[in-house]
């Protein structure tokens, strides 16, 4: 089993501009995803808007804190799921249940020696 982080990116106004029916369908997509992935789903959170983001970046003078997200992008990170699966195809199959307005980045997690509980 490998742990995978699924990062959800979407257009910032996607949800606010959507019709109630659209939102209902997207909610249902998430419910289906939860049901199908079951116990393989380890964690998942929706994130508050990018206007609430704070970025920490290390520079010459140490850590600098700035307002806002780090991505200069029209799409923003809206949430994530952490799940475990045997292989990539299993993850992509599950992720196809999620709302089609998303772009999803799937990244395997690595184990860092010495950091395991």
């Amino acid at each position: 089993m490998t742990k995978y982080l699924v990062i959800i990116a979407h257009s910032p106004n996607g949800w606010t501009d959507a019709s109630p029916e659209q939102r209902q369908r997207w909610h249902q997509n998430h419910i289906d995803f939860h049901r199908v992935v079951g116990e393989h789903l380890l964690a998942g959170e929706a994130l508050a808007g990018v206007d609430t983001a704070t970025t920490l970046r290390h520079g010459d003078a140490g850590w600098a804190m700035t307002d806002g997200p780090y991505a200069e992008s029209s799409e923003v990170i809206g949430g994530f799921y952490l799940l475990e699966a045997d292989h990539l195809d299993q993850v992509t199959t599950w992720c196809e249940l999620l709302p089609d307005c998303y772009a999803l980045e799937i990244r395997p997690c690595v184990t860092v020696d010495g950091l395991d509980g």
Binding site: T2, Y4, L88, D89, Q90, P108
Partner: protein, 433 residues
Amino acid sequence: MPDLETVWREEWGRLLALLLAQTRRLDLAEDALADAFEAAARRWPIDGPPESPAAWLVTVARRRIVDRQRAEAIAARKMPLIAVEEQQRESTVSDDGHDLLRLVLLAAHPALAPEAGAALTLRLVLGVATADIARLFLVSEPTMAARLTRARKKVVAAGVPFAIPEPEVLASRLDTVALVAYLAFTAGYAPGSGPDVVRIDLAGEAIRLVELVRTNDVAAERNPALVGLHALMVLQHSRRFARTSADGSLVLLDDQDRRLWRFDEIDRALHLMTPLIGRSSTLSAVAQSFLLQAMIAAVHATAPTAADTDWVRIAALYAELEALTGSPVVRLNRAVAVAQAQGPAVGLGILDGLDDELGGSHRLPAVRAELLARAGRSEEALTAYSLAIERCDNAPERAALLKRVQAFGSCHVDPGSGPIPVDVASATQFPGS
């Protein structure tokens, strides 16, 4: 004694697939199989050839894998993997062709960039040496070695499965396999630079790949994208001996000695593609694209002379292909076909607006120059020729352009004698279903 090189060519992919099925360790399996072939090169001339070369190689490779796993286990201060050894001694060489299909689907997985997938497929499935893949793709050996290493790492880290997906997903995966094979084939038939007009070796390897996959699995054998591609490749490849003259220069389709074409291969390709014709609406976009290209190649291949070519039919097929793919390269080819059917002025009109998309290519000014020359607009033709020559990196094509300028006045156009080069962008445009 069995020729070791033949055993390598015929068995590499199947044996690697088998070892991978048992170990699930791409790194171990690949190294161990290479070691086994090396051992065979030393031992067979002395000990005599084994009764079953494949079984001999697998046994040696398995022993290497167990050695490595034991060393790893000791390094990790865990129990030696005696159980693994016992279990592996039990299994024998299986004839399950599905292992090979799993390997092909692993190397040509859509999570890999198409060029990386093409290189990895040649390496893993056909056992082509890294140095040869580098030569075929016109990059340095260290560059290709690094590209292959990245691709292997992605396969292992991202967990690309060594498995055959459900039938409905399998069809789209086989479409990806076909695109990867096509990319290798195109690199052989339309080299962007270098001394060769055609790199027959690479085109031949791509055909071998498709044949190997199709003969090993029923779903692959019938997959329309693979069948259409197979027919297209064989049709293009059937002209290989006529495409270059004795001095290595390019011979355009109109000037080719048709007696040098391999008509047995042309017949085979026509036979292959016939069942697909008329089924367009049920085919994936990738399959339709290959079938249309094969149908165009078939019109050329079945014309008794260049003058007998049915350009109206070819122009119509290109129009269909352009509607399907939106590719500027297809439009360029359509312009040539339309010029042949309706005259250069109509063809020139179709070239309008292509400069943005094909700005850096030498093919656009080369075609424009030919059509301008035929329309009697000599001065503009010469300007376009200069631009084409300036941009052309392929030595024989450049020589052909220079010759054309010198022999100005007896111009004609090479009408789509090669496959349509596919770049990564247009390869990924296909929806894959």
